[in-house]
Amino acid sequence: MSKTLPPARDTAAGTDEHLRTLRERLSRALPSLGSLQSCIGLLLVVAVGIVTKGQIFWNQDNLTNAVTAFASRGILAVGVTLVILTAGIDLSVGSVLGIGSMTAAMLLVHHGLSPWAIVPLCALVGAFFGFLNGIGTTWLRIQSFVMTLAMLSVVRGIDRQLSNNVAVGVQLVDPHGHLTPKAAAFAALGTPGHTLIAGVGYPVIAFVAVCVLVQLLLSRTRFGRHVYAVGGNPTAARLSGVNVSLVIITVFTLCGLLAGFAGPIDAAYSASADPLAGTSYELDAIAAAVIGGTSLAGGKGTITGTAVGALILTLLDNILGLNAISDNMQMIIKGLIVVVAVVLQRPGFLQPLVEPLRRLRARA
């Protein structure tokens, strides 16, 4: 009864060729999607959302809101991925985002600058701290974990000192109770309800743009190659003529720049710059990278993977929130997801599942 298969086998020779080209094409496409496992994870999360909340979850408003809420952390994750690819780590991104958000608020409130000036200035401030991280890890040869841990503390301290531990609101109101033009322009950077194109707001657009740009930087440029080389084997990179220190400094600077760039988004989203803004965001950022298949050992990972990882965390946040699961439970679940993701992404994890199937086919 189990032997009713053979007739179907006749066409095998013809389809085999076809299958092989398909498989080759797939295996070439997969790396650009991060990894198979994280994509499956994303589908699972979406499925859970639809099953538990249906239309409440699966509608454009809810989804854009979810991504908007996570966009600033997503941008951090892109920067952190760059650093992790060189086998480093950046724990200071949350603090740098915080000071970016504080800088944005102060430039708006005290100096009356427009967002066009505020965003690049905040990015510069972030880049400065990232540059210091790079200098510390290369010239002073401090391990990046320690260097950026110190930076986390220092930057947060500066942030609190600057703000005198008081949140700075960004919704400036004129005597008539309307937002001032500058404040209104600033609100477009992320205050919920402000959209730019087709119901999508600036945070989402910025996140997508950052992902695309950095992914292109990694996969298409010489610098991208050098990032992977430094992370994969710094000695081999150096002996191949790569300026390893320069690559590491650049990567930290870019990571800081992105964190600074995300600051105004966070300030606009929360309608104020809190001196504690961005606290523990670095953990979400690292988690997104890891879930997306980036190896902390360096040299392996993609931005698309990180974007998928960020989406998983975003939707998870959203679904758990919709289902009224407590914050405490959310934290526990997120932690477990990271562990599961890393285990699932071990090379050869799927082997035991695939192997019996292949053997069966070989026998037939």
């Binding site: 440029t221 610098f223 080389a229 994969g232 084997n233 990179a237 300026n243 040299g299």
Partner: protein, 529 residues
């Protein structure tokens, strides 16, 4: 009635299948007490798999293993240990930050009545074991501070610290200089005399006559034959390994006294390493190499051979001295400048220094020459890059199923070809080779030698460092010898041009300084007793 005593170890009909690949089928191996069995085969022939089965790494093998005639099944490394089987891998398994005695007792530490570590007893026992091996080394010394040869003997001591019946040595001499090899052989003979069975894996066929009793040859995962070493010539063993007649291993014709232009002239090359560094300082080394010439650099471990290459490549310590490269002054600064000036280095340790092992063949091949395939905005022109990589893969006949194969999945010889391809894509006029054929099989070795010959014929100046004297003598037009960072001799392939390059002459020069330091050389007869 069975007259002969059972073999110490007999492996019969051994097979092993990995997902999608059959690594071994129907292999047999026998070791008698006190016998040294050489296990030969090209890379990928299945030697490591067979030894891993013996060491309990792969529990699901086919076939039977007998120890003293009793059938056993080896499920785990621990199980193998209980049978007295120990293996010393090419990459040593020691914890560098622990002391020698801590390593010897790792996992079976002695404890005092109070449950704390009994350091004194462990030190004493370690000292005993080391003395037994003819090694004077403080048991409290950190392994990190020991030389490779010493670390290897520490591994042997670790194996001796249990019941040792069968010892597997995987390419133990590949990282040793000649004098250290001799010391290892003394230890091997001593162990054999005590009835330990030894399995000795090596690519250096010339060693076998000296150390092995019989040779078992594997080819493509199958048993190719067993021969007594005495009375079997090398060509026969090579034929068994390769399964086809092999081209000349050293294709270099008699010395071509190159009258090409001087590519590199070095005067007074001196380095001063940082105090904590393990590098040997160089003291005023002079030499030159012409276009089309292969210059060999010989010496013992720590003589400063690699340091010379690293200094020229700007990868080592700050360099003093006068160097001219293609008649222009050159000061080595960083590898980047060296590559731009037309120098390329194939480093000593391909996994640690040359390859991004988790990345693809294409990525590694073009890494150093990426500047040649750039479009505006420093983006990589993937088409040209791919074409260049594919060209080198074809030229060097690298066996890989695609350019996107992960380089770590290739065999050692093919990995080395990727390293060479990487260097050649930068179109060097001076090529520095540090142990270019270490740990690769005979077939690939011959191919790399042929490549060196062809490159020289095209006008590249080559400087090659090797621990294998036959290789240097077979391939180089001239050989300079270093000892403790000083030049102690220069020998020629063609005796008409100067002192002839013979093993004896080179070894004497390599140990010149030690003789001066140690006074008149003691006769070797004390070593055996």
């Amino acid at each position: 009635m069975n007259a002969a005593p059972p073999a110490l170890l007999r492996m019969r009909g051994i097979g092993k299948e990995f997902p999608g690949v059959r690594a071994l089928s129907d292999v047999e191996l026998a070791v008698h007490p006190g016998e040294v069995v050489a296990l030969l085969g090209e890379n990928g022939a299945g030697k490591s798999t067979l030894m891993n089965i013996l060491a309990g790494v792969h529990a699901d093998y086919e076939g039977a293993i007998e120890i003293d005639g009793e059938p056993v099944r080896i499920h785990s490394p621990k199980h193998a240990q209980q049978h007295g089987i120990a293996m010393i891998h090419q990459e040593l398994n020691l914890v560098p930050e622990l002391s020698v005695s801590d390593n010897v007792f790792l996992g079976r530490e002695l404890r005092t009545a109070r449950g704390t570590l009994d350091r004194a007893a462990m030190h004493a026992r370690t000292a005993e074991l080391l003395a037994d091996l003819g090694l004077t080394l403080s048991p409290g010394r950190l392994v990190r501070d020991c030389r490779i040869a010493e670390q290897q003997l520490v591994e042997v001591a670790k194996a001796l610290n249990g019941t040792l019946r069968i010892l597997v040595l995987d390419e133990p001499t590949s990282a040793l200089a000649e004098a250290e090899v001799e010391r290892l052989f003394v230890v091997i003979r001593r162990l054999a005399a005590r009835g330990v069975g030894l399995i000795y894996i090596s690519h250096r066929l010339e060693e076998l006559a000296e150390i092995a009793d019989s040779a078992t040859v594997l080819r493509d995962g199958t048993f190719a034959g067993r021969r007594p070493v005495a009375g079997t010539d090398r060509a026969e063993l090579v034929r068994l390994m390769v399964g086809r007649p092999l081209g000349e291993l050293f294709p270099r014709a008699a010395e071509q006294r190159s009258d090409g232009p001087v590519r590199l002239r070095v005067r007074g090359l001196t380095t001063t390493p940082a105090p904590a560094s393990t590098r040997t300082p160089l003291h005023s080394v002079d030499f030159e190499v012409r276009a089309g010439e292969i210059l060999g650099v010989a010496g013992l471990m720590g003589a400063g051979r690699s340091e010379v290459l690293e200094a020229l490549f700007g990868a080592g310590d700050r360099v003093r001295g006068e160097i001219t490269l293609n008649d222009r002054p050159y000061s080595p600064h960083t590898p980047r400048t060296a590559i731009r000036r037309g120098i390329a280095l194939v480093a000593e340790d391909r996994k640690a220094q040359s390859l991004v092992i988790g990345n693809t063949v294409r990525f590694n091949t073009t890494l150093a020459a990426l500047d040649r395939y750039l479009r505006p905005w420093r983006t990589v022109d993937a088409r040209r890059e791919k074409a260049a990589a594919a060209g080198k893969v074809a030229e060097l006949r690298t066996k890989t199923h695609s350019l996107d194969a992960v380089v770590g999945t290739l065999s050692g010889g093919n990995q080395q070809k990727v390293v060479l391809a990487k260097c050649l894509l930068t179109e060097p006029s001076v090529l520095l080779l540090d142990e270019p054929t270490r740990g690769i099989d005979v077939g690939a070795k011959a191919e790399i030698h042929a490549l060196m010959d062809a490159l020289a014929a095209r006008g590249t100046a080559i400087i090659a460092v090797s621990s294998e004297l036959p290789e240097l003598i077979g391939m180089c037009d001239r050989i300079i010898v270093l000892c403790e960072g000083r030049l102690t001799g220069e020998f020629h392939r063609d005796p008409a041009h100067g002192p002839a390059a013979t093993q004896e002459a080179i070894l004497t020069a390599a140990m010149a300084r030690q003789n001066v330091v140690a006074g008149p050389p003691a006769d070797g007869n004390g070593a055996e007793t």
